[in-house]
């Protein structure tokens, strides 16, 4: 049991260390979490760990009261009925449209064929972006190594998350458009948000206390 009486869903992967720093700010003991990367459930501090994309599922169902996940996950799953409480200001990256360096093959496909093929792990974000900008795009969903798609001719462009742009550069891709800037967000179950209002507010205040952009 942590001192807030909240079950907290914490993302494994790139957002883990920032999330643990946030828990430290709230005074939750994260030593065991930091030293054990196979265990999933830490009952003593009521923390569960999982892939970032599973966080909204657990929080919506009330299996966790609050959780941390990327804005990319929230944008890709707008149907999840969860509350977005705060921008935690870590895990900064950008959702971009990228294609091979040199003449833009995606633009060429669009002007000659009227449609471009876009590979992505984020089909809904990609589809919404091209719809909003009035372009026809065939969205090809892949589960990983998105950069491979333009190199092999599967697609002319990709929509993906980039932090430093290194992976893109290493594969000869350049950013053509920025769709959204992404950070880690704190989310809450909508029933817990009412029933555990003061506990959640206390947690939010502590977690966001020094999470301002200057501290990055």
């Amino acid at each position: 049991m942590n001192r807030f009486g909240l079950t907290i869903a914490v993302p494994r992967g790139a957002l883990l260390s920032g999330s643990l720093d946030a828990l430290d700010r709230a005074g939750i003991q994260t030593a065991e979490l930091r030293s054990n990367d196979r265990k999933l459930l830490f009952e003593e501090i009521r923390v569960v760990t999982m892939r970032p994309s599973d966080i909204p599922t657990y929080v919506e169902a009330g299996a966790a009261d609050i959780g941390i996940t990327g804005k990319d996950v929230l944008m890709e799953h707008p149907e999840r009925q969860i509350f977005e409480l705060a921008d935690l200001n870590f895990g900064h990256c950008t959702m971009v449209v990228a294609s091979e360096a040199g003449p833009d093959r995606a633009a060429a496909a669009l002007s000659r064929l009227g449609v471009m093929r876009v590979a992505t792990k984020y089909p809904r974000i990609a589809a919404a972006h091209f719809e909003a900008t009035g372009r026809q795009a065939e969205i090809v969903t892949v589960n990983g190594s998105v950069e491979l798609a333009p190199l092999t001719g599967l697609a002319e462009a990709i929509v993906d998350l980039t932090a430093s742009g290194e992976t893109l550069r290493a594969n000869g891709l350049v950013v053509r458009e920025e769709i959204a800037s992404i950070t880690a967000r704190l989310v809450a179950n909508r029933v817990a948000h009412r029933l555990k209002a003061s506990e959640i507010d206390r947690f939010v205040a502590l977690v966001t206390s020094s999470a301002d952009p200057q501290s990055q």
């Binding site: 919506e60 169902a61 009330g62 299996a63 149907e79 009925q81 509350f83 977005e84 409480l85 705060a86 921008d87 967000r185 179950n189 909508r190 029933v191 817990a192 948000h193 009412r194 029933l195 209002a197 003061s198 507010d201």
Partner: protein
């Protein structure tokens, strides 16, 4: 192996004797409570003219399923019972003295996202009090909701109460209109505080107004109503205080004030309430006051009502039972 025609649509299900018996027990308890409160049970057609729903809805109770009748007329499955009851009040009770009290236990239909375990067809038990004064009507309705849930055996539930008119009044006071207003209301409905803050910051409002638009969505919880409030917050707060003063202390103890609640795309225009149980991640019941719905069916009057989703109440009861045996 069943043939392909033996399937049923996702989001629908057959209720077999074990579950049906438990549901019946809940329905019986709820109905007894409603009848005891002076509410007469009614039934309305599952299928009505689509025009009826369109007239009532600002997108809110919009029908998800439409069919063409044998003469090409557009029919729709009801998405809740409030609109059909408003129609009944305006037609069959056009000259009757107010207030009118109706209750129902009936299935309603809504669109679902596939594979999310959502029900296309779900059983609602609820009441409508037609010709109600906002505060005393809500006090009566909210009390009945609590008594009904208690009579079904639910113990640890709370009722969140807000005012659907508050946030629009804040936006009016700040002079926020058009696209920005719509965008904020969308974020507010989903309680995306980061989204609200971003839009509010982009508007360049005076500090105080911007702070109110950002803070009010977060304002909920016990103890919220103490102290002094500035306009237009004071109107909503005194409405909630007036409501609480009309409630028995055991009911008032269940109330969680929730100033940030804004049910977008609904006919609610005043006090709104929702029932939460710690065992369930979603609200079990919802209701509130509506001022304009009945007028659309020729009987201008205020109304207040609620609907309990019987399947969710059942799940919460099962959850509380599990919690007690494991404790």
């Amino acid at each position: 192996m069943p043939g392909p025609n033996a399937r049923i649509a996702s989001g629908t299900r057959d209720v077999l004797p074990e579950e049906r018996a438990e549901l019946r027990r809940i329905e019986t308890a709820l109905l007894a409570c409603f009848l005891d409160g002076g509410y007469g049970e009614i039934s309305t057609p599952a299928v009505e003219y689509e025009e009826t729903f369109r007239r009532a809805a600002q997108g809110g109770a919009d029908a998800a399923y439409r069919v063409l009748g044998e003469r090409g007329e557009e029919l729709a499955l009801r998405s809740d019972m409030t609109v059909p009851i408003a129609r009944v009040a305006g037609t069959r009770y056009a000259d009757a003295d107010l207030p009118l009290r109706f209750c129902y236990i009936a299935p309603a239909y809504r669109a679902v996202t596939p594979h999310r375990g959502q029900a296309r067809e779900f059983l609602q038990a609820g009441v409508e009090l037609i010709g109600a004064d906002a505060v005393s009507g809500c006090a009566e309705s909210l009390t009945l909701l609590c008594r009904a849930l208690e009579s079904a055996g639910l113990k640890h539930f709370k009722i969140g109460v807000g005012d659907a008119a508050l946030y629009p009044a804040l936006l009016d006071a700040a002079g926020v209109s058009g696209e920005a207003r719509e965008a904020i209301l969308v974020e507010l409905d989903g309680r995306d505080f980061v989204g609200i803050d971003t839009i509010v910051r982009s508007l360049g409002l005076p500090d105080r107004q911007a702070a109110l638009l950002s803070e009010v969505p977060r304002m909920r919880g016990a103890g919220l109503l103490e102290g002094a409030f500035e306009p237009p917050l004071d109107v909503a707060v005194s409405g909630l205080r007036a409501l609480l003063s009309e409630l028995n202390s055991d009911i008032a103890a269940r109330v969680i004030p929730d100033l940030g609640r804004f049910p977008r795309m609904s006919y609610y225009s005043g006090l709104v309430f929702e029932a939460y149980d710690p065992e369930l991640g979603e609200p079990i019941a919802g209701g509130g006051f509506y001022s304009d719905l009945l007028g659309k069916f020729g009987r201008p009057a205020g109304g207040v009502g609620f609907a309990i989703v019987v399947d969710l109440l059942h799940a919460a009861l099962a959850g509380e039972e599990r919690g007690e045996t494991s404790r």
